[in-house]
């Protein structure tokens, strides 16, 4: 991972030739140009964007079309389907299947809640948690990674051990441990006061557990960068450590960070779903794709859509952002793709 940004800069000239680019074009414009040519990445990026837009429109759908909220129970209500009045939940507890109309488009769950509305709100929650967790991870990992790599010595020793400590725990287990304890008592660290059922709790947990996955490569890259001549020049020019890290090191790791963002969003969404499925993420009755899958499990034989629909949305969203993320990586570091292909050939030989 330490090679991404330096490769972009060092290999910019060669890459420009390969791309038929004109002299004077910056590495990011060049990458954007390459990304535009990657139709698959763009298509999946558009798919992810579409899911985001749909989820953002959840309140609109709930108010104007479904006429119900995500947590509104309709256990004893009836709904007209094809001119016939049907129970939203039958006397034996069986929920309504898809109506393919505005109300209960995808059917109801055990509590008579509209699946389509919960799906969109659940997506909103999942994406919100994913975005916030990624933001937290990226900010903290950047600070930790650059500080550890630049200062080395004691600072590096302490920070690296903390990262090792977090890394040593399996992500899901650490998430469950933190999730179950924080869901009960919330978070109260100085001015940071969060209720146990706040969406910020799973975002905080996921944001913390993924820090080593970004900070470690950044640290490795910074260890190399700090020995570069342009850093020496800045130091000789009288710049202090903070200024060097901000104006010399950070720009050089920025493309690595850009590559990490979609990957971390995908990972955060998946972990949120896993934690929520296990009851340690988004707290009921708030929906998320993970909680919806969990809720639907006991009705799989008769109402598979309760599990399948949120599962499919989760797969599409993660697939979309992952393929798009790969495209971004390829665009920022065309050599990485070549290297991967070469490794693949070697392995097949």
């Amino acid at each position: 991972m330490a090679t991404v940004d330096s490769t972009v800069r060092a290999g910019a000239t060669a890459a420009r030739d390969a791309d038929g680019g004109a002299a004077g074009i910056g590495p990011y414009r060049l990458a954007l140009r390459r990304l535009r040519r990657n139709k698959a990445a763009l298509a999946f990026g558009a798919l992810f964007a579409l899911i985001v837009v749909l989820c953002l429109c959840a309140p609109l759908y709930a108010d104007r079309i479904a006429h119900t909220g995500p947590n509104a129970n309709h256990v004893t209500d009836t709904v007209m389907v094809g001119g016939v009045s049907k129970d939203v939940v039958s006397p034996t507890g069986q929920p309504l299947g898809p109506t393919w109309h505005g109300r209960f488009l995808l059917g109801a769950d055990q509590n008579g809640r509209d699946i389509a509305v919960r799906l969109l709100y659940g997506g909103r929650n999942s994406l919100e948690v994913g975005a916030l967790a990624t933001l937290l991870t990226m900010v903290l990992a950047t600070i930790v990674g650059i500080a550890a790599g630049y200062f080395r010595g004691v600072v590096d020793g302490v920070l690296a051990r903390i990262l090792d400590l977090i890394w040593a725990y399996p992500v899901v287990l650490l998430g469950i441990a933190l999730g179950t304890s924080l869901a009960l008592g919330g978070i109260a660290i100085g001015p940071l006061q969060l209720q146990g059922n706040s969406l910020l709790v799973p975002a905080f947990i996921i944001g913390i557990v993924y820090i080593p996955y970004v900070a470690k490569p950044i640290r490795g890259q910074v260890l190399g960068l700090r020995e570069q001549e342009f850093v020496d020049a800045a130091r000789v020019g009288g710049a202090g450590p903070l200024r060097i890290m901000w104006s010399e090191i950070l720009p050089n790791v920025s493309s690595t960070l850009v590559v990490f963002v979609p990957l971390m969003v995908a990972n955060a969404i998946l972990l949120e779903a896993a934690l929520s499925y296990l009851g340690a993420g988004v707290q009921p009755p708030n929906p998320s794709w993970g909680t919806m899958i969990s809720d639907g499990i006991r009705l799989i034989p008769s109402a598979m859509h309760l599990t399948f629909v949120p599962g499919a949305m989760l797969v599409l969203a993660v697939l979309g952002i992952n393929v798009f993320g790969d495209g971004v990586r390829d665009a920022l570091d065309p050599r990485a793709k070549v290297r991967l292909e070469e490794r693949g050939e070697e392995a097949s030989r």
Binding site: N71, A72, N73, V75, T76, V89, S90, P91, T92, G93, Q94, Q110, N111, T180, A183, L184, Q195, G196, N197, G279, Q283, P284, P285, I297, R298, L299, I300, P301, S302, A303
Partner: protein, 553 residues
């Protein structure tokens, strides 16, 4: 025709069992055929949706716990191993006979059977009884107020003012046990029949021993405990020699209990004969019900159990320290919705004393038959509690999670600002029963300890409020209820009918005061694999699946 079908079915069962013997299965099936048609010996597997709260008889207070402890720790008196009302009849357990009660109803005298031994071989002495009661108090059993409120000196022992319970005197030489009460209590013989009154040896550590349960006297003993995951109930080889009448010595060698939180998987395994018993405390998933009713009709039955399902409303803190706020909840709740959430395994009711029990009101529900949301909203406004934040506590397992989801939405609809707190099943009741938690409202249920309304009114008795393992979740401390309990509790079980109207009036008063939002009484599933003799297996009205009567076909 009918005879032939039975014959064919028997042949089919025999062939299936032969096949099972060849092919192997999830459970050991060794054993010899008994004279009764079933086999003696063998092992079955029981699945539980939630782990017992404790496997220590001095602490356990859930049905999952009682199923194991009541056949492993026999008290001085116990219940008949029978289905239905007969199962509510008391009979001598380790005592030689029924207690002799003094004319003032305050002194009980019993005699311990001779020659009894604990499962580890130690002899049972009369003094072990006093130690057992002291231990249940010291480890803070959830129902300890049954002891501390009535046995002389028990309250002083509980508070640390006495080193032992002065009201219990024992004579190891004669086996004589005398219990003095502070006031007459008609249901006291039932108190002596609690699994927590099941004898353990003197000197048993006074701490939670769920992971390594102490020795007891019973047809079975609890072993191999893997906390919250599994345990085994194994036959106690010493018990049969005691020849205690009417307590079955058990047919099975062992019962392997496994905790499996997914009721879908739990039911599917029993349906497919991969496991033998579905936990009666769990609700069958609605998606599997049609299959179970068609494919397993000969091994599935809905059994009504005297029970009350309710949401407790903490009367000591806002918003439910306000009568109108509590009544609003009772007006709003849609009991038909609760029935649907329970897959039809609930009979709607708004009274605390369930049907079939003396004192159950036959009058109309004071809050009407249908929910009245408009009235509920109006009452919330009048109470001045609109917008009050409310945390609703609930368990993970279905349909209790669904009940709480519904209830939270309902509270929001009538004007509160409700959020949920769902916690693991195994720690739910200890958590909400802890004074530090002091929950505002949440799910609760009660399945009778004994067929007497006073058992239900433990949950409304101010004397039952305790810092840990509290059962009076609403923290009801009502002078009228206390006065009535003082008058009604002493009435012996044999004369309960004479005060039926008084209990009814009390229960109607409780409903009007809306101390809880009661919504129904449960039917429980008796659901086994094909391997178990269904008809001879007792479904006890208090302790549910009676494993001591289970037998392989």
């Amino acid at each position: 025709m009918r005879v032939w079908i039975r014959g064919a079915a028997a042949i089919a069962v025999a062939l299936l069992m032969a096949a099972a013997g060849c092919g192997g299965g999830g459970s050991d099936n060794k054993g010899s055929t008994s004279g009764g048609g079933g086999q003696e010996g063998g092992t079955i597997s029981v699945l539980m949706g939630t782990a017992p709260d404790y496997l220590d008889p001095g602490l356990g207070y859930t049905t999952q716990s009682a199923e194991a402890t009541w056949i492993s720790y026999t008290p001085l008196l116990t219940y008949r191993h029978e289905t239905g009302q007969a199962g509510g009849e008391l009979m001598p357990g380790l005592a030689t006979g029924q207690p002799q009660v003094s004319s003032d109803g305050k002194t009980y005298t019993l005699t311990l059977r001779r020659g009894l031994e604990f499962s580890d071989g130690r002899p049972v002495r009369a003094s072990d009884f006093r130690y057992t009661i002291e231990r249940s108090i010291r480890v803070n059993w959830g129902g300890k107020s049954f002891y501390t409120s009535y046995i002389a000196g028990a309250a002083a022992y509980d508070s640390g003012d006495a080193s032992d319970i002065s009201g219990i005197t024992t004579d190891d030489a004669t086996g004589r046990i005398t219990i003095r009460l502070t006031e007459p209590y008609g249901a006291f013989p039932n108190v002596l029949a609690f699994p927590s009154s099941g004898l353990v040896p003197s000197g048993t550590p006074m701490r939670n021993l769920s992971n390594d349960p102490p020795p007891g006297v019973g047809p079975y003993m609890i072993t191999n405990v893997s906390p919250n995951r599994s345990f085994t109930v194994r036959r106690n080889p010493r018990f049969a020699s005691f020849n205690i009448p009417d307590i079955p010595t058990g047919h099975l060698d062992a019962v392997n209990v496994k905790v499996i939180s997914n009721t879908q998987s739990e039911a599917q395994q029993v349906l497919n004969n991969e496991a033998d018993v579905f936990d009666a405390g769990d609700t069958l998933p609605p998606s599997l019900l049609p299959q179970i009713e068609s494919r397993a009709s000969d091994r599935f039955e809905r059994v009504p159990v005297p029970s009350t399902y309710y949401f407790f409303l903490n009367t000591t803190k806002p918003p439910f320290n306000n009568l109108k706020a509590r009544q609003a909840v009772n007006y709003a709740i849609d009991r038909e919705a609760m029935v649907r959430l329970a897959s039809g395994f609930l009979e709607p009711s708004c009274f605390f004393i369930p049907r079939g029990l003396v004192g159950h009101p036959t009058s109309a529900c004071p809050y009407g038959d249908r929910p009245d949301l408009a009235r509920a909203r109006q009452l919330v406004q009048q109470s001045g509690m609109a917008g009050t934040p409310v945390t609703v506590w609930g368990e993970e397992r279905s349909p209790r999670r669904e009940y709480v989801d519904y209830y939270t939405d309902l509270l929001n609809k009538i004007g509160f600002k409700a959020t949920e707190k769902i916690i693991a099943d195994a720690v739910y009741f200890p958590t909400i029963g802890n004074a530090k938690t002091d929950p505002q409202t949440g799910f609760a249920d009660w399945i009778q300890d004994f067929p007497n309304p006073s058992d239900y009114y433990l949950l409304m008795d101010a004397r039952a409020i305790q810092p840990t393992n509290n059962q009076n979740f609403s923290k009801v401390d009502d002078p009228f209820i206390q006065k009535e309990l003082k008058r009604l509790n002493p009435v012996p079980a044999t004369r309960l009918d004479s005060v039926a109207d008084d209990w009814t009036r009390l229960d109607e008063y409780t409903a009007r005061q809306a101390y809880v939002a009661a919504y129904g009484e449960e039917s429980m599933p008796k659901f086994f694999s094909d391997r178990i003799a269904f008809d001879s297996a007792v479904f006890h009205p208090t302790y549910l699946n009676d494993w001591a009567t289970f037998q392989l076909k």
